[in-house]
């Protein structure tokens, strides 16, 4: 049953490429349907447990897949952000040929991400990380203009370094444990003769995954990749692709497979705090909207890494919740950037200043996203940051908790500046300064509103049922 998450998109990929006319025209609809089914399946897991479905493929394929609460949250996130990205692409990509390629590559990316969250073997994990990376390279370079090619090349080089680190780590695990499944690696940590090799392997993995996740000081490629890619690809990348292939793997491996000792935890804590501060400070000085959002992304990832370094079950639950919230509000902000770009033709904040009042839907939803990122109650971002900071306090790391609080204030500052400049003041300049203003389509507005509603509802609902969602996540942590 679990392998269907990988096999059905693959089947759909083959079907989409058949030379039948009406399938090509309905491609967007079919993929949207598939992603909605995935979202529903993840949400309704408690009502219809998947083990109730008969295992029909069990005799042909032996896939070692497993699902737990962390996987469910991730599947829900992947489905939501991929669906939003599809809607944005339907509105912004014009050429017929590029639309078709986008849909296919999106399917491949979704196959890769679904597999990453379902596998329980470290080399298969690497294979699907590479699949997500390759499909994101091609997606960034989709329109083949000058900056896109440059962004792809920088991402390629750093991804190559990450590959080398991860593979060296896998070789060391082979030496230490003899088998590459999560279970055997976890039991190898209890063997005292293997401790040196395992420490080396864990550090190598840490370096490689920090590069993939865009944690400072390895964040050099994030800027160019997010800036240079087309709007829908930015939504996909910022929301899930880099996060699943970097941050989720960190959460899974360092949360429940490896047993890390104090020096490595301190390194993770420091890297998280460094990312938060660097992202927040750099975002203050940016003039371009997408660049500011990219730095803000680095900052939010820092929160998750900080929580991971704290290494208590409560911090882990906070990290996963913040992952979900970040995917929602960051995608919302990127969709707003896409809407602004489509209407006004550029993402330079100097040019956009004072023009945003013409797009009320975008303005209000952007305000929701901004407040959620900064951590204002009762939106969802507040709760996840609260859990993380509480966890830091309760494990005695007061300095890091203080840093996280201060950075939250900084986040509020630069986002409010952005909101005010673009949406809240009216400028007397005429719009024809920017060429070719297109009308914002209903689909974009629909996706913005639904993401904003998810943010608000998650925040409101969380007050009433923390026990239902957060406590099961704690159980995954070792």
């Amino acid at each position: 049953m679990l392998s269907l998450f990988i096999l059905i998109p693959l089947l759909l990929l083959f079907i989409l490429n058949l030379p039948v006319k009406f399938i090509r025209q309905g491609a967007f609809g079919l993929v949207g349907l598939l992603l909605s089914v995935q979202i529903l399946a993840a949400l309704l897991h408690s009502l219809f447990p998947w083990s109730a479905f008969p295992e029909i493929l069990g005799s042909f394929f032996i896939f070692s897949l497993a699902v737990d609460n962390l996987t469910l949250v991730m599947l829900l996130t992947i489905g939501t952000v991929a669906l939003v990205s599809l809607i944005v692409a339907a509105s912004t990509i014009g050429q017929e040929r590029l639309r078709f390629y986008f849909v296919n590559l999106l399917l491949i990316c979704v196959i890769g991400m679904n597999a990453i969250v379902l596998v329980r073997d470290i080399f298969s994990l690497y294979v699907f990380i590479e699949i997500v990376s390759v499909s994101s390279f091609i997606l960034i370079a989709l329109e083949r203009n000058k900056s896109a090619i440059e962004g792809t090349f920088k991402y390629l080089m750093l991804s190559a370094m990450a590959t080398v680190f991860i593979l060296s780590g896998i070789a060391c695990f082979l030496l230490a444990a003899g088998d590459l499944s999560f279970v055997s690696i976890h039991s190898a940590f209890y063997d005292p003769a293997a401790s040196f090799i395992l420490k080396v392997a864990a550090s190598l993995f840490l370096c490689g995954l920090f590069i993939k996740a865009g944690v400072a000081p390895f964040h050099g490629w994030v800027m160019d990749a997010y800036l240079a890619s087309p709007a829908s690809v930015s939504v996909l990348l910022a929301g899930v692709a880099t996060k699943i292939s970097g941050v989720y793997v960190l959460l899974r491996l360092f949360g429940s497979v490896f047993i890390v000792n104090a020096p490595l935890q301190n390194i993770i804590l420091f890297a998280g705090a460094f990312s938060i501060v660097l992202g927040a400070l750099a975002a203050l000085t940016q003039d371009d909207l997408k660049r500011m959002l990219a730095y803000s992304s680095i900052s939010q990832i820092g929160y998750i890494i900080l929580a991971l370094g704290c290494a208590t079950p409560l911090a882990f639950a906070g990290a996963v919740f913040h992952f979900f919230n970040h995917a929602i509000f960051k995608s919302l902000l990127f969709v707003n950037a896409a809407a602004l770009e489509k209407r006004f033709g550029s993402t330079d904040m100097n040019k956009l200043a004072g023009q945003g009042y013409k797009m009320p839907v975008t303005g209000i939803t952007s305000l929701m996203g901004v407040l959620s990122t900064a951590g204002i109650p009762p939106l969802s971002g507040f709760w996840s940051k609260l859990i993380i900071i509480l966890a830091l306090f309760s494990s005695g790391r007061f300095v890091y908790a203080g840093v996280a609080l201060l950075a939250s204030v900084l986040t509020l500052a630069y986002f409010l500046v952005f909101q005010r400049r673009i949406f809240f003041c009216k400028s007397e300049l005429q719009e024809p300064a920017l060429e070719n203003p297109g009308k914002i389509s209903r689909a974009l507005g629909f996706s913005e509103i639904s993401l904003a509603i998810i943010t608000v509802v998650t925040g409101a609902v969380f007050v009433f049922m923390p026990g239902n969602w957060i406590m099961p996540l704690k159980g995954i942590f070792w």
């Binding site: 080399f123 294979v127 590479e130 990376s133 390759v134 390279f137 091609i138 370079a141 083949r144 203009n145 000058k146 900056s147 090619i149 440059e150 962004g151 792809t152 090349f153 920088k154 390629l156 080089m157 190559a160 370094m161 590959t163 080398v164 593979l167 060296s168 896998i170 070789a171 060391c172 082979l174 030496l175 003899g178 088998d179 590459l180 800027m223 160019d224 800036l227 240079a228 660049r291």
Partner: protein, 106 residues
């Protein structure tokens, strides 16, 4: 683990680290986008050797070979995509010098 196997692993390890340094040097200090790709290839070869050597030392040659075969397939695809991107960079900038790729600054 026997002492001779450990000795073998360390000997191979020295050469693997040297090969990694060569590949990284080629990748980051080069005047030609194609050489960056050659450097990446050398890095992957070093890691392949590391995996095979680790498999030999602990007796799991079958698993190591399965890993290497999959890895080679992945490496081909990444190489092809990288080659395509390098080609477009050449077409845009009329040069294959990676120092000239400084359009996106900041």
């Amino acid at each position: 683990m026997s002492q001779s196997a450990l000795q073998l692993f360390c000997t191979f390890g020295i050469f693997i680290i040297l090969l990694l340094i060569t590949g990284a040097y080629c990748m980051f200090v080069s005047f030609n986008l194609i050489r960056v790709l050659i450097g990446f290839e050398i890095l992957i070869k070093a890691v392949t050797l590391l995996i095979i050597c680790a498999g030999y030392v602990c007796g799991r040659t079958a698993l190591a070979q399965a890993i290497v075969i999959t890895l080679i397939v992945i490496e081909i695809v990444v190489m092809v995509v990288a080659g395509g991107v390098a080609l477009w960079a050449y077409r845009h900038n009329k040069t294959i010098d990676p120092r000239k790729l400084s359009n996106l600054k900041g």
